[in-house]
């Protein structure tokens, strides 16, 4: 039986049920690196709840429209628990990770809420806003170092990655000196190409590192999150380690890629760059628009139905997996007219770049502050910023769960 036939058999749909199942993660088109995969875009226009086939031949539903994505992610009948049968894994590595004790990102309420609420205070708006001077200082230091005596650099290695890395290390109480160690592991955990063995190894390295760190905070506490979780006394070191790992990875790859990709998107849209430079007060809205337009969680969020649910006119049965593609939802013309264009003056606040529902990104206030400061400062301090290689030579992260660029050589 072919994959397509198997998908059809599992869903019991007839030959006239619509388009052939789309293979996901779907590849983006050459030459349009900021746009979602053409197949996903077509699904949104023609068959919003579409059949899809995953890498291992298993079937799932692809949810592509803004309203439907919000409905699924906001509905507790769709579970984030990867140990449930039918949960759609995007990679072999993802399936491997589901065999270890999950963090709250892969748990449902009430357990999810109990664990998440141990961290919400650390990322609340007021607390994060108070960090602005510190984030600004780190940003200026990095740019001083990058620009002193030189007129070109890799923006990823020297600015976009170190900034969120320094901030999350500070927040967690993790020594930044170890950054190469956890950046490498973090990369392996998020690569779509990693084997199950590589994922298991990286996961085990981080678990050991963070368990040791939690132990050390018991005798020498600081004011970081790891120390506070230790002081609470209601989690064991293993649980603290898995929360720390989640925050460390999430804090590294997301803002770093948004910073570099935002810079590139602005350089490719000189009219928008000019508008933003002319009126820096646009920065908050511009960051929301960049989050919408770029949507770096580019393969979507997986869920599995725990009972029969109707979404967008389709019945999804208990045990069937769904994949909510955030990037296509964020290009939905019904919500964001002319959504395929970057418009720094647009009201983009309804985007779902941080997800939706109770799992929506915990670190979003921090991501916003970091992005606003990083982009504004970069444009202000480097008025002649430009790409130092042909656009065609930029290496995009098609192979990673978090989209972006592997390197961004720039000059000024």
């Amino acid at each position: 039986m072919t994959t397509a036939e198997r998908t059809e058999a599992e869903h019991g749909t007839g030959p006239d049920a619509g388009l052939a199942p789309l293979a996901v993660p779907a590849a983006r088109a050459e030459g349009c690196p900021f746009d979602p995969a053409p197949g996903v875009e077509r699904a949104r226009r023609e068959e919003p709840i579409a059949r899809a086939t995953l890498w291992d031949g298993s079937a799932c539903w692809l949810v592509t429209r803004h309203q439907d994505v919000r409905e699924v992610l906001g509905d507790p009948r769709f579970s984030a628990d990867a140990t449930r049968p039918g949960f759609p894994f995007l990679t072999a590595g993802g399936r491997e990770l589901a065999t270890v004790k999950p963090t709250f990102i892969r748990q449902d309420d009430p357990e999810h809420a109990r664990l998440r609420r141990m961290l919400t205070a650390d990322f609340m708006v007021k607390k994060v806003e108070a960090m602005r001077p510190e984030v600004q200082r780190l940003t200026d230091d990095l740019l001083d170092r990058m620009t002193t005596g030189r007129n070109s650099a890799d923006l990823v290695a020297e600015f976009a990655l170190p900034l969120p890395s320094l901030v999350i290390c500070l927040l967690l109480g993790v020594p930044y000196d170890d950054h190469e160690f956890f950046q490498e592991r973090s990369s392996l955990l998020l690569s779509l190409r990693s084997t199950a063995e590589e994922v298991r190894g990286a996961q085990e390295d981080l678990r050991r590192y963070l368990t040791r760190l939690a132990e050390s905070k018991r005798s020498a506490p600081d004011d970081g999150i790891v120390s506070r979780l230790v002081a609470r006394g209601d989690l064991d070191d293993e649980e603290i380690a898995s929360m720390g790992r989640l925050l460390l990875i999430a804090g590294h790859e997301t803002t770093a890629n948004m910073t570099a990709l935002s810079t590139l998107a602005l350089l490719r849209n000189p009219d928008q760059l000019k508008r933003l430079r002319a009126d820096p007060s646009l920065i908050k809205g511009a960051v929301e628009e960049l989050l919408r337009y770029l949507t770096i969680v580019h393969n979507g969020l997986p869920r599995v139905a725990t009972e029969e649910v109707t979404v967008g006119g389709r019945t999804i049965r208990a045990g069937e997996g769904v994949l909510c593609t955030l990037n296509s939802a964020n290009r939905d013309d019904g919500v964001f007219p002319g959504g395929d264009a970057l418009d720094v003056g647009r009201d983009a606040r309804r985007h779902v770049a941080f997800g939706f529902g109770v799992h929506q990104c915990l670190g979003q206030p921090l991501a916003r502050v970091e992005l606003q400061i990083a982009v504004e400062t970069l444009l202000r301090r480097l008025p002649d910023l430009r790409l130092a290689i042909p656009f065609e030579d930029v290496r995009f992260r098609h192979d990673m769960g978090i989209y972006g660029v592997h390197a961004l050589p720039v000059a000024w």
Partner: protein
């Protein structure tokens, strides 16, 4: 307009505070939503509607006033 919040549903994402800081805040100890003004003035209604629309946990709801201004 009368605003209602459901602290049980709140996941502490903080998007309401960014939309309407005059109406919403977060509790110091756990980041859960706190209502500062249950009957905000008309000038803030758009911001409150935005907060309702973007709240990921559907923890905010509003009742509109009738013609006599009663909620």
């Amino acid at each position: 307009m009368r605003v209602h919040i459901d602290q049980e549903k709140c996941c502490g994402a903080g998007s309401c505070v960014l939309s309407a800081p005059e109406v919403f805040d977060q509790r110091e100890e756990d980041g859960i939503v706190v209502l500062l003004d249950a009957e905000p003035p008309a000038g803030l209604h758009d911001a409150v509607h935005e907060a309702v629309a973007i709240c990921p946990a559907a923890a905010i709801s509003v009742e509109q006033a009738d013609r006599a201004g009663r909620v």
